[in-house]
């Protein structure tokens, strides 16, 4: 089905929301008109200089953009190979790249006259970002979050409530991001006329994967400009973690045409891709439909969606953005995976060499670079998208390290 190789220069998505064979709008009829309205409103906003000015103002003076590109000198030394740069999305207000998109969508919601936003969240970063922008722009906000994630990310739950959002536990299925997304969609179907659904990643029905990319591509645009300013050349490799894949798409998209730049997406291998506890959708999934989009999916032979596993709540998702599915099939991006244990080791290394506690999600990208950098010559340049900071994860990290010391999985 999606095996036909497309050239990467093609404009995607097409008018039907397709990235090659992937994407589309597989949603209940009740939502179709809302998606159409959203598409129209987004296209109008995109062409409106006033909307761009308003968004830029918020990104610069509220979110703290542009985020720096930091040379990771001691990490580079420790790995003894390629030079490593970090795109510091962890320095965004609220601690992750998620705010870029939440600001864009909430501003669009306001422009469309919607007073209420809803959001799904896994790690809680998108929930916090949505609660934040709702407060800033004067909108009401409901955040759907899996019961299991509420337990894992209690600090972020408190943050959302402090910011005035209502956190609604999703108690179906695996009680994680996929189920929170189901609940958010169900709520949206019931309140579609007055509610704007702020999706947190490049997933969901068209136009979401496209719209979220457009709001996140600022990551790659800044990075490209910054590396050219600092080094006068493009990097050899750009590496980002992939759950739904919004930081990765935002980082990769402005480099797609730069053929000399290798792009690597890193999925969560959980306990290992030989086990049934992983979230390596692109590595081990098959094309299927989840949350309104045709993409790679972890599923059984009957098409029942399987539960994903990762130490990182933000990567714990059995689907992936359809543009990633397309970039995998075209071969423009290489997708690999790293385990929970490898991600944990990466957290420790970055803490001790650079004084940065990375989010567990971002640690997956660092772990991949720990494998690759030593094999590369010192002239080579790698940029890692450090998508978020790890403050939200310290309890999880503490537990996992204790478990490891007790002789679990070293």
């Amino acid at each position: 089905m999606p095996s036909n190789i497309q050239t990467t220069t093609r404009v995607v998505p097409d008018e039907n929301g397709r990235f090659g064979a992937f994407g589309g709008k597989y949603v209940p009829e009740t939502l179709m008109n809302a998606l159409h309205e959203l598409e129209t409103a987004f296209e109008e906003a995109r062409r409106d200089p006033q909307f761009a000015a308003e968004l830029n103002e918020l990104l610069n003076k509220y979110a703290g953009r542009p985020t720096p590109l930091t040379y990771a000198e001691r990490l580079t030394e420790a790995l003894g190979g390629a030079q490593i740069y970090l795109k510091r999305e962890d320095l965004n207000h609220t601690g992750a790249h998620k705010l870029n998109n939440a600001l864009g969508q909430a501003l669009l919601a306001k422009r469309m006259g919607k007073k209420a936003i809803i959001a799904e969240t896994g790690a809680g970063q998108h929930g916090v970002a949505s609660a934040t922008v709702a407060a800033k722009l004067g909108l009401s906000c409901k955040v759907f979050m899996g019961e299991e994630d509420i337990r894992r990310q209690s600090l972020n739950v408190f943050r959302m409530k402090l910011l005035g959002a209502e956190v609604i536990p999703a108690v179906s299925g695996s009680r994680t991001l996929k189920d929170a997304t189901n609940e958010a969609i169900r709520h949206w179907v019931s309140h579609v006329e007055e509610t704007f659904y702020v999706i947190g990643s490049v997933v969901g029905p068209h136009p979401y994967p496209y719209m979220v990319r457009e709001f996140q591509k600022i990551i790659g645009e800044e990075t490209r400009q910054q590396i050219l300013q600092q080094l006068g050349k493009l990097p050899d490799e750009v590496v980002a973690c992939v759950g739904g894949g919004s930081n990765a798409i935002g980082m990769f998209y402005p480099f797609i045409q730069d053929e000399s730049v290798a792009l690597r997406g890193v999925e969560a291998a959980g306990k290992g891709i030989g086990t049934d506890k992983h979230a390596a959708t692109l590595t081990l999934g098959r094309p299927g439909v989840i949350h309104g989009s045709l993409t790679y999916l972890l599923q059984d032979e009957h098409g029942q969606v399987q539960e994903a596993h990762s130490i990182s709540a933000g990567l714990d998702y059995p689907g992936v953005g359809p543009e990633h599915a397309y970039l995998k099939d075209t071969g423009r991006v290489t997708y690999t995976s790293v385990t929970d244990a490898e991600a944990l080791a990466a957290v420790e290394l970055l803490c001790r060499t650079e004084g940065i506690i990375p989010a567990l999600e971002s640690a997956h990208a660092i772990a991949e670079v720990m494998k690759r950098a030593p094999q590369m010559s010192p002239e080579k340049i790698i940029v890692i998208c450090l998508s978020g900071r790890g403050d939200k994860d310290v309890l999880t990290i503490q537990e996992a390290l204790a478990e490891r010391t007790e002789g679990g999985e070293a």
Partner: protein, 274 residues
């Protein structure tokens, strides 16, 4: 190629529009595959015209809590499309002549293979399918395969469909499933005030028969919508009854008695139609 109108039960049943059809929904395998067989037969005896058989799914995003729970119960038995097809065969062999449509989310159909799915539907004696997450923009391959096999892909139309009502109505075959309220499936105390207007607009857009569903749970509600439509679909209210009696339905000694209760419940809904 078979011609749809000559053989498809849905078309035969709707041929006389003066009679309103009753279309109950239950999930295959809830609480057990054996119970589903007896429940369908009882509902047919109670006067059901077309049976909607739900294929359980892990992520039923158009469904409310009642049908989500039914799906979970059925998935405990590993019920798949293949099991639903076998049930259809068994019902036909036992003499059930009611229309039968499967209700399945798109992913299981996609994994089964679209063409194989429709060929097997026809071979097992089903008449069509409702795929709630397959809007007209995405249903081309399914509609083509259905046509090849003399089957219907039942389209849905919602109060928010607005300008889409016309396009959906023009393409509708079998019957047009009118979603009576925004939101997911599930019993509701009140129906939308503008429901009659919506149904009038749908009727004006199509030559296909219409059936109303989502949230209809009582004989009073059945009576209230009957005059605006050719058929009435009730799902969650019946599934709630099944849930209430699930322990008896799982126990062969008590199943007949529980089936009888659900039959009585369905009879009350059917009699509100005429």
């Amino acid at each position: 190629m078979m011609t749809t109108t000559a053989t498809n039960r849905i078309d035969r049943l709707f041929a006389d529009r003066s009679r309103k059809l009753f279309i109950p929904f239950i999930t295959v395998g809830d609480p057990t595959p054996e119970a589903t067989f007896h429940l369908v037969r009882a509902m047919v005896d109670a006067g059901a015209d077309i049976i909607e058989l739900g294929v359980p799914y892990s992520d039923p995003l158009a469904d409310g809590p009642t049908i989500q729970r039914a799906s979970q119960r059925a998935l405990q038995h590993g019920v798949s499309i293949a099991d639903a097809l076998q049930l259809v065969s068994r019902l036909r062999e036992s003499g059930v002549e009611a229309g039968i449509v499967l209700f399945s989310y798109f992913n299981p159909v996609l994994q089964y293979g679209i063409e194989r799915f429709f060929a097997d539907l026809a071979a097992h004696g089903a008449d069509g399918v409702v795929i709630p997450d397959l809007p007209i923009e995405e249903n081309g391959p399914a509609v083509a395969a259905a046509k090849q096999n003399g089957l219907h892909v039942i389209s849905l139309v919602a109060p928010t469909s607005d300008t889409r009502i016309k396009t959906i109505g023009e393409q509708a075959t079998g019957f047009l499933y009118c979603v009576s309220s925004l939101g997911v499936t599930g019993a509701r105390a009140e129906l939308r005030e503008d429901l009659a207007d919506f149904l009038q607009r749908v009727k004006a857009s199509t030559t296909a028969p219409t059936a109303v569903g989502f949230g209809i749970s009582t004989p009073e509600q059945v009576r209230a919508v009957a005059s605006h439509t050719d058929g009435v679909i009730v799902g969650s209210a019946i599934v709630q009854e099944i849930e209430k009696h699930q322990d008896q339905l799982k126990d062969p000694a008590h199943m007949p008695e529980a089936v009888e209760k659900i039959k009585t419940f369905v009879q009350q809904l059917v009699s509100a139609l005429q």
